[in-house]
Amino acid sequence: MTPTPNSTTEDPIRPHTFDGIQEYDKRLPNWWLMTLYVSIVFWVGYWSYYEWFRVGLSGPQRVEQALAQIEAMKLASAPALDDASLWKMSRNPVFVEAGKATVNANCVACHLASLRGKGENPTAIGPDLTDTKWIHGGNPMDLYRTVTQGVLVKGMPTWGPVLGPKKIAEAVAYVLSKHTEGEPIEVDPSAAPPPPAK
């Protein structure tokens, strides 16, 4: 038998036509079938791993575990900060410049770029950070705690989990660079005391 160039001899065409449309009846491509079969086997395996034998962790379990690790790492590497070291940082241009970048990215919406807040513009949301009147304590570590834990009732967000201790220390150093150590400070007695350290 001589092969004919007409491919229809090897490709059977279905006898029936629809509005002139013919149909070959070719075999399904093997790679296509394999794709289907492999995805079905994957389904059986994946379901068994996560839902049947529960070897794989669920989403909440996984994120809780990762968060616990992050907390442990933070506790282990928390910088040893005190008032003196923060004052020292506030006189170091490297820290102050880094802190200024953090403040400009996150704090100026309420406290304004000058950090003068309501002192510059009464409709601003945040208080003046350059004067000597403090609401939640004026010592460097009070500032550090206020930024880290926030004062939700007054609208100060909790920055600790977002910025981390290093960036917060730098931001505090930048604020302190507008002040001098030992200047007389006034603390608002009616306001809540700074939240206790964790």
């Binding site: 449309i21 399904l28 949301i125 609208g155």
Partner: protein, 772 residues
């Protein structure tokens, strides 16, 4: 059989009407798309006008391109091809006209409601309830007209295109009705009957399968008619048609939960959503293969014929989008891509590439045949192809880059993974701005191409006489012998159907049974698979004969299709509706909104806030670091509709309550850039000027109670007192911050709503099985 022949004239008028409507609405829908793309880069283009604001126009864009462009195009293609494939004129001219004008009236009413804030707050299901009823009525008109025509057919067997049309009609009816179940509070407002996680699941069962059965299956049917016609080549493989049709309609329905990966959706549903999406890859590519390989032997025609160019590119984009879909449905990929522009790029590869190009190819093929006049300009059509193609590539490439860039930045951490590298959301937004501009250019080019189509259309049909197709048939040619040939027994009690039913049943027992039952299910599933394979290998001809006979019986065929599409929905939705009520939702329980907060929430929905802001902190470390503790099921259980969102053009709001002072929100709504420098959020000044409309509040609360939200039996006076008291507190607080706003303004209600987000009650864990 007598020899007397009669000539049947097809109803091609209805095809011309739908085709014209599709081109016009397509241009409008795309124009709105280009405008909202521009607004994302240039906030000034919102013009501080409610009905021109991004979040009001975005639903108009999606509804216009889905239901007006693709809807009208689909009806044109279905009506043209069905009449010829079954050798019968459409059953009723009246129903055809009712279908056409009813559908156009629905579209016009959408244009008249969505920009004015009349919305249900669920994506692609925004239309208000009176329009929903109209859609269902017109869809039934379409179905009756279609099945009646099948009943009058002179062609005994059903061609593959008709299978896809049948699956479209019954599945869309089912999805649309279930997802639009709601209880009205007024003529223009209603609350969906499902809330929280249930609403999320039903919404994406609908949303995902609207893509499947509105944007995919009817267009596949159109492909199976118009591609072999235009290429003048046989369809590549009939048996591939059979296998990919049934696997596609069965598997598609299960994949909806992949829109909710890593959220508070129960894990087993996420697993189903991901694995079934992967299984969908091959069936989708079956359609692409049959489309592209039909062009074998006709590739040389692509050089000159714009129709085949559009079809070849359209089918290729279909293949690309259906590969990308399963990829994005993998949980770890989804953690990066979800909520970003990547998903926008993905859907536009599908809509611009697949739907838009198939629509263009079909239009260019139909124009000369419907008006009996050559196309005005083939070179203009070719230019349309190249401009449109470049437009899509720019669009899609921009969105991939943008989505992956923003996703990587949002997920990036520093200092040993303990804090975010880019804590400020705006930094990530402003990084992708050049890419958003590139998207605007791509979309603009695509619109330009479409306008060329419109011009070509107009020039072709201007002054041309419409012509209707005809066919000669024998006078008494038997229409067909419906079902009598097979009967109930022959239709359903036979190897292929029984193997499918037992296989699905065993799989169900394996997945949801306990211990031994589960093992028995898996063994049964495997035995069933092996037996089916062996039986097919030895008696394959019997299967083929049975299927050939089934194709002559449209009712059993339709019933089997319905059984295939209904399975996935039943197994996913019923356990969720039954199990996940307020009594069994992890360790958090939502507090019902105060009346003022409920009002604020309705404003949040009205102004489309959910289109840019999610309320779902995923179980992913970067999400938790950025937005707080991950969201629990119980925290949104009373939300009708749910507001988890699907895109983050701005940050998540699930725990924004109490994060900022009231005055922050006031200033931010009035002028977002006064607080968030570089933000692209529109301004919402009318919130400060409009007085809150409390006229339907009593009715709203009574509907909420009907839906199961535990409100006390307040009198109308008690409700008013509560609203006023809470509003006064907020206004007083704003006053101390230096902002003077009357307590009866809308902004006060919205602030009340925003400030309680994330304030759920922690309840002792009453562990219920997460498996149904």
């Amino acid at each position: 059989m007598s020899d007397r022949k009669i000539t049947i004239e097809f109803n091609d008028k209805i095809v011309r009407q739908f085709l014209l409507a599709s081109v016009i609405w397509g241009a409008i829908g795309m124009l709105v798309g280009v405008l909202i793309a521009a607004q994302l880069n240039f906030w000034q283009l919102n013009f501080a006008t409610p009905w021109l604001t991004w979040s009001r126009l975005r639903p108009l864009h999606t509804n216009a391109v889905i239901f007006a462009l693709v809807g009208n195009m689909m009806f044109a293609g279905i009506y043209y091809s069905t009449q010829r494939l079954v050798k019968a004129r459409l059953a009723s001219d009246f129903l055809s006209q009712l279908h056409f004008w009813g559908w156009q009236a629905i579209i016009v009413s959408a244009v008249c409601t969505l920009p004015f804030g009349l919305t249900r707050g669920k994506e692609y299901a925004e239309l208000i309830w009176p329009i929903n009823i109209a859609v269902v009525v017109i869809w039934v008109v379409f179905a009756v007209n279609f099945f009646w025509t099948l009943g009058k057919r002179r062609e005994p067997s059903l061609y593959v295109a008709i299978w896809f049309y049948i699956s479209t009609i019954i599945t869309i009816a089912m999805l649309y009705i279930v997802n639009h179940l709601s209880i009205p509070t007024s003529w223009s407002h209603s609350y969906p009957v499902f809330g929280g996680v249930q609403d999320a699941l039903v919404q994406w069962w609908y949303g995902h399968n609207a893509v499947a059965f509105f944007l995919t299956t009817p267009i596949l049917g159109i492909m199976y008619y118009f591609v072999p016609k235009a290429a003048e080549r046989p369809v590549y493989s009939y048996r591939l048609s059979v296998v990919h049709f049934w696997s596609l309609v069965f598997l598609y329905i299960w994949a909806g939960p992949h829109h909710l990966l890593n959220t508070a959706l129960p894990g087993w549903l996420q697993t189903l959503g991901m694995t079934f999406s992967l299984m969908l890859w091959a069936p989708s590519w079956g359609g692409m293969l049959n489309g592209l390989l039909t062009l074998r032997g006709a590739w040389h025609k692509l050089r000159t014929d714009p129709v085949l160019k559009f079809f070849a590119a359209g089918v290729t984009f279909y293949g690309m989008a259906t590969f990308e879909g399963p990829l994005l449905a993998i949980k770890s990929v989804n953690a990066l891509g979800h909520y970003t522009d990547w998903v926008i790029g993905h859907v536009h590869a599908g809509t611009l590439g697949w739907n838009g190009f198939m629509a263009a190819g079909m239009t260019y093929w139909l124009l000369p045949r419907l008006w009996n006049k050559p196309l005005y300009s083939t070179s203009l059509a070719n230019l349309h192809f190249w401009i449109g193609g470049v437009g899509i590539l720019l669009y899609v490439a921009a969105m991939w880059t943008s989505g992956i860039t923003q996703g990587l930045m949002l997920n990036a951490t520093t200092e040993n993974g303990t804090i975010l590298a880019y804590p400020n959301f705006l930094e990530t937004l402003n990084t992708i701005r050049p890419l958003m501009l590139m998207r605007l250019i791509g979309g603009g080019l695509y619109l330009t191409g479409w306008l060329m189509l419109a011009y070509n259309f107009w020039q072709t049909v201007r002054g041309a006489a419409p012509v209707n197709g005809t066919i000669e048939v024998f006078d008494d040619e038997p229409a067909h012998e419906e079902a009598a040939a097979m009967g109930l027994f022959g239709s359903f009690i036979n190897p292929p159907v029984l193997f499918s039913i037992f296989g699905t049943g065993f799989a169900f027992v394996w997945m949801f049974g306990a211990d031994l039952l589960s093992i028995a299910g898996l063994v049964g599933l495997m035995v069933c698979g092996v037996l089916a394979y062996a039986h097919f290998e030895s008696r394959g001809k019997k299967w083929g004969d049975w299927y050939d006979r089934l194709l002559g019986n449209s009712l059993p065929f339709t019933i089997l299709t319905f059984l295939a599409v209904v399975a996935g929905g039943l197994i996913q939705i019923i356990p969720t509706v039954v199990a996940h009520n307020a009594a069994s939702t992890e360790d958090r329980k939502q507090t019902p909104y105060t009346p003022l907060e409920l009002q604020g929430r309705d404003i949040y929905v009205r102004d489309g806030c959910y289109l840019c802001h999610s309320q779902m902190i995923r179980t992913l470390v970067p999400d938790v670091l950025r937005y707080g503790d991950y969201s629990r099921l119980g925290e949104s259980i009373y939300d009708h509709p749910y507001q988890w969102g699907s895109k983050r053009n701005g940050p998540d709001l699930a725990r924004v309550g109490g994060k900022y002072p009231n005055v922050w929100h006031l200033r931010h709504m009035e002028d977002p850039r006064s607080i968030s420098v570089g933000s692209n959020m529109p301004t919402f000044p009318w919130l400060l000027a409009n007085t809150l409309d409390n006229s339907t509040l009593v009715k709203k609360i009574s509907v909420q109670r009907m839906l199961g939200v535990p409100y006390p039996n307040w009198t109308p006076e008690q409700i008013t007192t509560r609203v006023e008291a809470q509003a006064k507190t907020i206004a007083a607080d704003l006053k101390t911050a230096g902002a003077y706003i009357a307590p009866d303004k809308e902004i006060i209600a919205l602030i009340a709503y925003l400030q309680q987000l994330g304030h759920a009650v922690v309840v002792p864990i009453t562990k219920t099985a997460s498996n149904p």
